[in-house]
Amino acid sequence: MAGEANKKQKREEYRKSLSKEQQKLALPKKKFYRQRAHANPFSDHSLTYPASPASMDWASYYPAFVAKNEESEYVATQPREDTLAVRKLSKAVEIADIGCGFGGLLFALAPRLPETLLVGMEIRTSVTEFVQEKIRAMRSQNVSRGEYQNVACLRANTMKFLPNFFTKSQLSKIFLCFPDPHFKTRKHKARIVSTTLNSEYAYVLKPGGIVYTITDVEDLHNWMVEHFVAHPSFERVGEEEQEKDVCVQVMRTETEEGKKVERNGGHKFVACFRRLEDPTWP
């Protein structure tokens, strides 16, 4: 299709122009990165992911947080070729925004939690690229204050590969913001929240860690509440505590979808769940 090719060409040209030096500070334009809002989590895709968390090269995502005692000085621009010897970070990633979309939540949280590493995970290639470009630009714009060094975005299918990125009990917060509702009953296994998948969220979360959920689809909200409450590793966080949490406020107002819902005058349904300690063996 001519239209398609044209679009592709425009995007390529745009991306080329972004890599030029004078464009370093320019924020990427969303219109060149839009992608249909659904991806099939069961398909193979052509994903890159580490075989295990130990082989994940976090250092090229958080160059400012590379452990100081490593033998070599870090090179800011080029990620190292040999991924076998992975450079270590001085601290581990603690917050994951699963399905981060265009990254609104990440950019709002990053300056508020400057000492915590945040990662956005998104299954759509172009959307991931947008967030990565925006991180690059935001870092360049805020060089003096060193902001946005604690945020990164990568393409991943977390429903399959979450344990490839994070070790047991590594995370303190997981965000599931405005996930694909998958209305059809047949598609319910594709939902980001399910009895079986919640075990994986429990695995990567440390006891006391929180899963944050927000959606404008009441049906999905009820589904998420039902499935997290039914899972023995989680309890729902009380309303009072929930409303005091700054992350909840940010999630309501700063996510792209959150803003859209606001404009439409829609409802936003929030629920948070705390990871409980594992029971002793029977």
Binding site: A37, K160, P163, S199
Partner: protein, 503 residues
Amino acid sequence: MAHPYQCIQVCKPDPQNQEKWMILGACGPNVVSCISNGITAIWPMQNDRFKEDDPKEPPGKKLKLANPTEERPNVSQMLVSSDSQYLVTVTAEDKCVHVFHITADGHLQELTQRSMPKRPCAITLTADNSTILCADKFGDVYALPLLPSPEEAEVLPKPATEAAEATPQKTFIPAATPLTVHSGRNRKALEAQLKQATQQMKTKEPLKFKHELLLGHVSMLTDIAYATVDPQEAGRQPRNYILTADRDEHIRISRGAPQSHIIEGFCQGHQEFVSKLCLIKPGLLVSGGGDSHLFVWDWLNCQLLKRIDVKNRVLDFFKDHPQYIATLEGQEEINIAISGLWAIPGGESKESVLVACEGVPALFHFMITIGQADPDVCHVLPLVGNPLDFAMLDLALDGIIAVVSVDNVHEPGSTSSRRQGDRPSRLQLFKINSSERWESYSGMTETLQWFSCEAPGGRAAGGEATAPGQVTVEDMSAGAGEKVMRDLLYGVENLRKRAGADE
């Protein structure tokens, strides 16, 4: 022509008589059995529609059944309980789990048939033989009681969440309001929902038997193992674990029920699909799949102990047996796909595992040394056809006997070309000699004559066990039948992800 045995199991059906053995083979849709006293049987006992085959007939020209019976589902899994009392089988096309009682005189009585929601890929039993763990194509593991309790037929206790999902709502509530932010697709889905609501609410029929969802991956499961680990401190209960492997390289270690929602860890390192798990002793796991190596794990600590090169042993085998080389030609990259792993009892210090690779007419017996630099010894056991399954029988007189099911239909070394010339027996037997090498064993050949050479199989093939010499026919030359058979026998390499998958 006889269908090969895609699965083989052995057992000692009579607790009073340890010398009595029984071999069970899945042959297309049939389960064929043979006992040490020579009695044979076939399940299902069918209508006696069978035809005589002229054994001298050229292979290309086969009789076509006048009225092919409706296609019966092929048996894809087979498992005998550790007490030799029960046989569990899975039939592929109808996703059905069958349980049989094995009587002391070696007969099969079918007790139950339970149809699962998704196709079961692997089954195992808990250590007490009370529960079947069924791992399916959609990544879920269900627990089914081996024997359904009598009262269960009437009342069906269901987990709350599942009940909610399955119960049709009386009043239709749309999943979203018009205020919801939508993509075009979601809007369409919602419209379709509204339309459907005016018609009848269609809900999936809930399963009519007791089943419990224990855990799930978002990936096709390929194998499942159940392990019981003795407590380290006195006075504690032994710990049960469920080990699951999937097509996306994962090996997950979960607690056993009722804590199966707790993931203890992952054994990570595979770069390709995992197809087989084998616990060669309580703390030691061997896994294999599409990688060139076997992985040996201290699975309780999720630590990789070593990797063992299988691919080069396979290539060495092909070098030593140039007659099979032709099947390798034209392949840019030679991949191996591990289709079978079986623990072989060895001495105290030695662990050993027998390995089958899809389409390689040999078994590879690796002696594994842990914590030492010694290279792992590998003995190669050439076969007359590609190995399909393996079982081990411990006889008081002759020691350990290996029963190997071999493909008598395809050329050795190939998973697609039909065999030319004579077809070998469907079973090969070996025993371990005093120098711990495998040698051919002929002690049971006579008893197994009918089982290994004549027992009918294949779709649309019935048979009477009492009519030796009467070989049924099947129309295997038809393309569809051939494909079904190939998928049944050689499904492992198909698990490999193809380059250029969708975006």
